[in-house]
Amino acid sequence: MRYWTLSGILLLAFLLQSVVSSYLAIGGITPDFLLVVVVTYGLLFGWEVGLVGGVIGGLLIDLITPGFIGRHVLSYGVVGLVSGMMEGRVFKDNLLLAPVGGLVGSVASQMIIVFCFWLYGREVDPIGSLRQTLLPAALYDMALTILVYNRIYKYYLYLKPDPRGTIVIRRH
């Protein structure tokens, strides 16, 4: 596994998330680049990569956003872990994998964050949050996951070379 490249992609997602995402906001909802990358890592490379990517990405984003530290570590970590556990059970080239993964991952991640808010006494209006934040953000993340997943899947064999080596077919 090319861990340096995977780390680079994660760092790029963090930069996009922290610097660019606010300019891509639609109706006040920003895309979650890191979550999308974490879901993709889990679905393509398994639970270890998903979990570690989620924890590192979550920690980075927790350190630059207001509020208490740890909520993104928990939500991204869980999403990375669970999507990674699906890795062996799904076909990676299934067209529905990316949108379903992105949608479920985003909803799950935000539910965990709302749970953390509830736990630490931050008042949440359930209906308002569902309509104004959770659902629009999940749809945005779903669309973004389709783009990111397909882009990374294109380089799957480069990122995770077959340990038995590759067969090169030459035409004469």
Binding site: S18, G28, T30, L60, I61, F68, Q110, F117, D125, G128
Partner: protein
């Protein structure tokens, strides 16, 4: 003889996950209270990101400028006609205003009140917005090196924008009025109505700004302006918003008013940090 736990891979993983979970919740508990001081790691990351944010803001500003110009040109004619009417109305209002200022001055002199000093403002540019959909805050290009401190009020020409929630050497995070945590932390945002009814601003997740009252039957009318009372951290007489309607909590039967913020939070480019609120600001002007 090796312990059974050593051989049991699943049990070890479960223990590691449990310890990690406990650690995460411990960190969340430790940082869940109002945190004005940021850690060294947070300061370092903010400082590293600062040039990227400046560059992105510069590029985005140009693109936004082009788009805005094209959009605005199409509305220019209608706006022009509307503005002419408003200028006429404003002239009449100005005349009335001058009359009121004189009257006010006379009354102040009679009451032997001191002239209210202007706030010392630090004009700052918004360089980024939070990338978290659950928090409403912006990043400005002035930090502790410029004298900005946590809990200072931030305003623009429309009214109260928010307060400084954390400060790094070059940047500061402004917690907007529409952020759910805005009213938390004691009397974070004391508010008052023109007739003197006092209360506090309490924002609920989802951007609903509410004003809760200290008395049970406040005198409220839809459209009334709401100002900071000066009680708590904010200076007095900053316009927060307008009464949008009455509401009550089903659980506690507590009455409150829904507030329509005075500031358009989608168009925040330039804001002013109110530096060093004086003692006079803190409640002296509260009715």
């Amino acid at each position: 003889m090796p312990s059974p736990m050593r051989n049991n891979k699943h049990l070890r993983r479960l223990m590691a996950a449990l310890i990690a979970l406990i650690l995460i919740f411990a960190i969340m508990t430790a940082t869940s209270r109002d945190r004005a001081d940021v850690t060294i790691v947070e300061k370092a990351i903010a400082t590293v990101l600062y040039p990227f944010q400046l560059a992105t803001n510069y590029v985005a500003g140009h693109f936004r400028g082009v788009g805005t110009t094209v959009r605005e040109l199409t509305q220019l004619r209608a706006d022009n006609a509307s503005l002419r009417e408003r200028v006429q109305a404003a002239e009449q209002l100005e005349a009335r205003s001058q009359q009121l200022v004189q009257e006010n001055q006379t009354l102040r002199n009679e009451l032997n009140m001191k002239e209210r000093n202007e706030h010392t403002l630090l004009t700052s540019q918004v360089i980024s917005r939070t990338s978290d959909n659950w928090y409403r805050s912006v990043l400005i290009n002035h930090g502790s090196r410029d004298g900005v401190q946590p809990n200072m009020a931030v305003v623009n020409w429309q009214g109260l924008v928010g307060k400084i929630s954390s400060v790094t050497p070059y940047t500061s995070t402004v917690q907007l009025v529409i952020d759910a945590g805005f009213g938390q932390g004691g009397f974070g945002a004391g508010a008052k109505l023109p007739l003197g009814d006092l209360g506090i601003i309490d924002t609920v997740q989802g951007g609903h700004v509410r004003m809760k009252f200290f008395i049970s039957e406040p005198t409220v009318q839809v459209g009334q302006p709401i100002f900071t009372s000066g009680q708590g951290e904010m200076p007095a007489d900053l316009l927060i918003g307008y009464v949008a309607g009455m509401g009550s909590s089903e659980a506690s039967q507590e009455k409150f008013v829904n507030v329509r913020p005075a500031v358009d939070f989608n168009k925040l480019d330039v804001v002013h940090v109110v530096l060093q609120p004086t003692d006079k600001d803190r409640g002296a002007n509260a009715p």
